[in-house]
Assembly symmetry: C2
Homo-oligomer: 180 residues x 2
DNA sequence: TTAAAGTTTCAGTAATTTCTGAAACTTTAA
DNA sequence: TTAAAGTTTCAGAAATTACTGAAACTTTAA
């Protein structure tokens, strides 16, 4: 394997757990993305020097993250795996999937415990904080669940805008106010 | 401890590792946020039933994340800990800190290996992918590093806009084009 | 129907991460 | 200067998470 590709795949392994999966799955994901052609489970197992069983689990996991798709070669019944969509789409999927794991459970807990009311000063403060956190997570969830609908081009445009978004928002407000 | 508060702190513990720290630190963070008054290391140790040493490490870590601040009570030389800033500011800090750990290292690797050029088809494809990933991460990094400059109110406004951002961007484009 | 080709599962083991508690260290005030 | 109050560090133990490989399972085609 080319040393640059090797370095990249190795790095994906090291970062794997920070990205929300584990070393093996990070490496697998990196390898599949960087490869020109779809890879079979055995090719992955050989390339990364990990057991066949582990590759199988990794494939299941990457499918759960919607990051890979199955391909077939004519006259070959093995399954081959390729990235599903372009890099932007994959990034959005990781983002969404992580939101599901990192935010949704908290949102649901907060909805449950927000109901009853406070019996003293400390509880009133706690209630208030829980409310603020709920509001924050709810906004973020709504926002990010809308993002994928924008499509990669618009998304890229938004990203490149940076804090310029602030100015655009101001512009919008001014227009709406003038209209009144 | 009030059962709602207990449930919240416990949940923060369970989510801790998904949020980028560990169980203890998650609980500590939840407890400090939900408490009306600043807490001493011993109070934290007692409330969460964890060793004093672990609390000490946790405090250091939460300080590295810029999530807590030190407070003093008059006539008491113990240190007390309180959340630093409001919930939105804390969220932005977690976001930034995670970007540093989850994106920056990859960006720096990509900058290193992007230089040399391809010797065959597979390498050309890999080079192309590396380039795309670099572009994506670079955009995201620029964007998120600009976000905190907007201040919590604007940030909240942006979040509430959802995919409406797409429409606002279109509006901006139309205006700029008309001006030509 | 069968055996070859291929895949998945999972119990046990290995590796990693987190936690404890005692010892070392620091600061304060008497 | 000293001892009491408080904090930090870190080696080893505990808990968690990831990985292997062999056995069980599934699919295909002859």
């Amino acid at each position: 394997m080319n040393p640059k590709i090797k370095a990249f795949v190795h790095h994906c392994g090291e970062m794997g757990s920070r990205w929300g999966f584990n070393r093996t799955i990070g490496q697998m994901c990196g390898l599949i993305v960087i490869s020109k052609d779809p890879l079979s489970a055995n090719e992955i197992s050989d390339a990364l020097n990990i057991s066949r069983g582990n590759v199988s689990m990794g494939i299941k996991e990457l499918q759960a993250w919607r990051l890979i798709q199955i391909r077939h070669k004519p006259g070959d019944r093995k399954e081959y795996y390729a990235p599903s969509g372009d890099i932007w789409q994959m990034a959005v999927r990781v983002f969404e999937e992580r939101r599901k794991r990192e935010v949704d459970p908290t949102l649901s807990l907060l909805r449950d415990i927000l109901l009853d009311d406070a019996k003293n000063e400390q509880e009133a403060h706690a209630q208030q904080k829980l409310h603020e956190i709920h509001e924050l997570l709810d906004s973020v969830t709504r926002f990010t669940s809308e993002l994928p609908k924008m499509g990669p081009e618009k998304l890229e445009q938004l990203m490149k805008l940076g804090s310029g978004v602030g100015k655009v928002l101001d512009m919008k407000d001014r227009l709406l106010n003038n209209r009144k």
